[in-house]
Symmetry: C2
Amino acid sequence: MKRDSRLSGVLHILLHMARQPGPQTSETLARAMETNPVVVRRLMAGLRERGLVRSEKGHRGGWIIARELDRITLRDIYEALGEPEILAMGNRTEAPGCLVEQAVNAALGSAFDEAEALLLRRFGEVTLSQLSADVAAMMPGAAEAITLENAHEA
Amino acid sequence: MKRDSRLSGVLHILLHMARQPGPQTSETLARAMETNPVVVRRLMAGLRERGLVRSEKGHRGGWIIARELDRITLRDIYEALGEPEILAMGNRTEAPGCLVEQAVNAALGSAFDEAEALLLRRFGEVTLSQLSADVAAMMPGAAEAITLENAHEA
DNA sequence: GCTTCATGTAACTTTAAATGATACGTGAGT
DNA sequence: ACTCACGTATCATTTAAAGTTACATGAAGC
């Protein structure tokens, strides 16, 4: 399959949203991402169901973040996306009859599980507000503006 | 893409080889794996280049393991396969102009790198002889036979 | 030497999943 | 009513692994 960039993509969207006060349309967000509005809606659908964002139809509609940035972790977002596969590798057969393959599955499986667990743990430790601060720190000469913006988001 | 099961597959092949003294043909190995001989050769090609296995053509030809089992780690095998992608997830763009995306890449990237490093570390700690012993331990009532076999492999 | 066996590879097909695009329905403002 | 924007189904595109076919090469046995 293609490399999965949904988490990366939706984070990009959310951080753009965090830098603007009002609702933003899929159209606008899609342009910033150089993609299609439908892709944006698809990514956001899961987040809406989890209550992380809200959407409004019609004039002046669009997407807004519906929870404090410091109460949204990457793990929340990952789960809202439907917990996509983390590893590109896996066992050939899930429930093999062959004992050799069972041994291979057991050995690889535990290593795989550890790596997945580590990544999920890291995801749980990172909040959107931290990422937003990272972005602000990278903005040359815009420090005050960012601070003002963040004031009524957190 | 499909889930990558090359490491799982080639381990299965190697452990089957470890349980038989002489060379084994791609044909035989493919039957044990329920796949095609060409797939077996493709998997083994990289291992041959690294000197982990040898192949002989013609009558009584086939594949043999060319290094002591306790000197072959999963990491060696992973590298011989061409170091396939470990993570199914990745950043949307590698060198983005957008600062927001750069911040996302930095945050996700370090988490991704940690998980990959952990998995590779685990791979480096597991040898084929350990896996072979695991298989032996799972064989009911064949303990002596396995022990004899292992005697002239390690 | 000739045949057979087995690897070595190239080329093509199939499969699976994300991404991209089009079309149309629904509901909220104006 | 009309327009804006989301909601969603459907189809096309892309990417890479896995499976298949075909044929060349080289070694062993006769």
